[in-house]
Amino acid sequence: MGILKLDHVVKRFGEFTAVDDLSFEVAEGGIFGFLGGNGAGKTTSLRMALDIIRPSSGTIEILGRKPGRENASEIGFLPEERGLYRRMTVLDTIVYFGRLKGMDAASAKKEAERLIERFGLSEWTKSMVEKLSKGMSQKVQVAAAMVNHPRLLILDEPFSGLDPVNQKVLEDLVLEMARAGSTVVFSTHIMQHAERLTNRIVLLARGRKVFEGTQEEARARLPGRLTLVSEADPSSLTGIASATRAGAANGWNSWDVSLKPGVAPGDLLQVCTQNGFALRGFESHRPSLHDVFIHLVGPEQETQP
């Protein structure tokens, strides 16, 4: 059963359509990537899932129920725009969010202290948030999102603003949460993170879904690319869409080759063998999610690779 399901959801702000007929389903367990460039409708969709705003039309199911605060005890949410009460201590902040999610005071405190230690914030437990660095504040926010051991953890652009070290800490934490049984849905426009973490993805552009599936399924949407080193021009070989000479050395030419849709690099290798086409080099290029995104969405919705 899907833990999050959007069915023909539309959200309009006046004349502007932020989300347009969006449907997808997130299965329970694993890490789900919600990808798209800026303004693609990711945050709006997540807000609707959390009942912060209501859809103009369409239906949403979360944890098998309608969106609402009744679900808060099973959800952790880290919004894209983050902030904390500056004059609250680290411990009080995490406990406060735990209690808002229905935890009793003792459990919230115990879990808050565990997370504080896990994030290396122990010496700041009683410090006011205003005394923390940006990185430490973000850790507190993540801890506040996770304090209730959520069944569904929704992270909206969780890596933005974090330095590489803290990005790695957060990546590890996301993996840990997933291993512990939580379903993690995170939105991002940084494809590296999605590539490393997600099992399935949805790609959004201008409020519309352009792809839903696994990373491999997404890559399969792109024509295969490889580099051949041969004396002869490979353009006439079956399955090749185009071949461009990229360089030459010692009488051998290097070719950038694009395959026709549905043709795998292995298929081309077989064709070369069957036709006695002399090869000195064969290197298959695996497309990145960034390549997939550019291919599916277009360069005007550029993301960070």
Partner: protein, 499 residues
């Protein structure tokens, strides 16, 4: 409800942890305490000594008697007020001090002195005073006659006398029967008082008007008697004429009644109006900053994922209401506590006011206070929700404060002059001003219909305001960009917002 309480507790804790809150909370109790202490320990010194040389031997006793009568009159008045306050009249119903503070004639005071004066009176009263009543403090006489300081003689004439006293009159303290006191006045009465041989007085520079007047009047009175006697009247007739004083029977209403009734009864309700203004403006600003902080710190989205906007709004109102109530309880508690436990300025104002307030008025005062607090707090909350920054908020806040404050200030002036005049009565029926107007008028006497009518109207108004605020709050919290214009604002109020 749990979420509302959690938000309220957080709001309360956050504000209560600020230094500003504690300064505001404690300022009134400190002022009250200081006024009590100041009243007791820092009272300007009015006690002083005088020396008198009466070469004629005719005036000395009269002057001493007059000063003692005046002293005993003051003590008799204060003791009568004490007896009235602690309801001790039953100890000696016929005693002059048993009938409350009023004006006492010379004859009455003379009789009081003949009966033993203030010391004897207090000896009778003291055993019957309640345990919680403080003992009556007998003040020493304001002016005490002192013997001539060492080295000063009256044998070498007025000029030598003056010269010898020049130093002591610069502020030295001299020995008196009541201990050391600064010398305030030296009087030289020649053997024969005339225009060529006048009574001479030297002061320490302070006016000492009362003392000088008393000495002058007594000398004049004795001189009048002497003159009448010299014209052939029998001495007793001459003295009688010289002593003529208009017989006055001055009746004053008891405390809490008569011409002071309105002022006394209104003291506490009027104080509540000022308290309401101060607390709502102060805590309103805190609330405003809190909402703006949540908006500018981008933490609303995290909160709104767990609780409804209405819960957030009600939690804030409840938390800030609790702050207001805390201030009210501490301030009123301090005033009432001071009034009940110690004597002083506060006690003199609060005690009669408390005594004059009927029990239902306390309930009405609390209702109007809380309703007023809610009405204004909600305006602050709405402004906070609409504003991206304190600068934005100022633009909304200034006209709102003016709209609230100006009519209230005018109304307060009007209420003191004419509590049931047209302006205060009309203001009582305008919900925004009802709490202020009704609080201000309560002490002067308002009828039950007016209280119930304005109360019902106020309740409905608060409910409507709450609904409208809820809509504005919900529509504004995650809004970005410039604050809305009038049409956008109206759209929010009728619920036609996007988001």
């Amino acid at each position: 409800m749990k979420n509302i309480l959690l938000v309220a507790a957080r709001e309360y804790k956050q504000i209560a942890s600020t230094r500003g809150f504690w300064v505001m909370l404690l300022v009134l109790p400190v002022v009250i305490g200081v006024s009590q202490v100041a009243g007791r320990f820092f009272r300007p010194q009015t006690d002083s000594a005088y020396v008198l040389v009466d070469q004629s031997g005719q005036y000395e006793a009269a002057i001493d008697r007059r000063l003692n009568l005046n002293y005993q009159r003051v003590e008799l008045g204060a003791l009568s007020a004490y007896v009235q306050r602690w309801e001790l009249g039953g100890i000696a119903p016929d005693a002059i001090w048993a009938k409350g503070e009023r004006w006492f004639s010379d004859d009455q005071v003379a009789q009081f002195v003949a009966d033993g004066g203030i010391d004897a009176a207090w000896e009778r009263i003291a055993p019957g005073k309640p345990k919680d009543a403080p003992a009556y403090v007998i003040d020493p006489p304001t002016y005490v006659r002192a013997s001539l300081p060492a080295g000063v003689t009256d044998q070498k004439g007025a000029d030598a006398f003056a010269e010898a006293l020049a130093e002591p009159l610069k502020g030295d303290e001299i020995d008196t029967p009541e201990g050391q006191r600064p010398l305030a006045l030296a009087v030289w009465i020649p053997a024969e008082v005339s225009t060529t041989s006048p009574v001479r007085m030297w002061t320490n520079g302070a006016p000492n008007t009362t003392l000088v007047d008393n000495v002058r009047n007594e000398i004049a009175r004795v001189q009048r008697a002497r003159a009448l006697e010299a014209s052939g009247l029998a001495p007793e007739i001459a003295t009688g004429i010289a002593n003529i004083a208009t017989p006055i029977d001055l009746s004053a209403p008891p405390q809490g009644a008569g011409r002071e009734q309105v002022v006394i009864r209104s003291a506490l309700p009027l104080a509540m109006v000022y308290l309401l203004l101060v607390t709502v403006m102060t805590t309103g600003s805190m609330m405003l900053q809190g909402v703006i902080e949540e908006r500018s710190n981008k933490l609303l989205e995290s909160i709104l994922a767990t609780i409804r906007p209405a819960e957030l709004m009600y939690g804030k109102l409840l938390g800030l209401g609790a702050i207001g109530l805390t201030i009210l309880v501490v301030w009123v508690g301090a005033a009432v506590g001071a009034a009940l436990s110690v004597q002083g300025i506060v006690a003199d104002i609060v005690n009669p006011s408390l005594a004059a307030i009927e029990p239902w008025m306390f309930a009405a005062m609390l209702f109007y206070f809380l309703a007023g607090y809610l009405i204004i707090s909600m305006l602050y909350l709405a402004i906070g929700a609409l504003s991206n920054s304190l600068q934005d908020a100022q633009a909304y806040l200034m006209p709102v404060i003016m709209i609230i404050m100006l009519p209230v200030v005018f109304m307060m002036v009007s209420v003191i002059q004419q509590p049931n005049g047209t302006f205060p009565v009309v203001m009582s029926w305008i919900p925004l001003y009802t709490p202020f107007a009704m609080l201000a008028r309560l002490g002067a006497g308002v009828n039950v219909v007016e209280v119930l009518g304005t109360g019902a109207m106020l309740t409905v108004f608060v409910a409507i305001e709450m609904i409208l605020l809820g809509r504005i709050f919900q529509a504004s919290l995650l809004r970005t960009g410039q604050p809305p214009n009038l049409s956008g604002f109206l759209a929010m109020m009728v619920g036609k917002h996007t988001g």
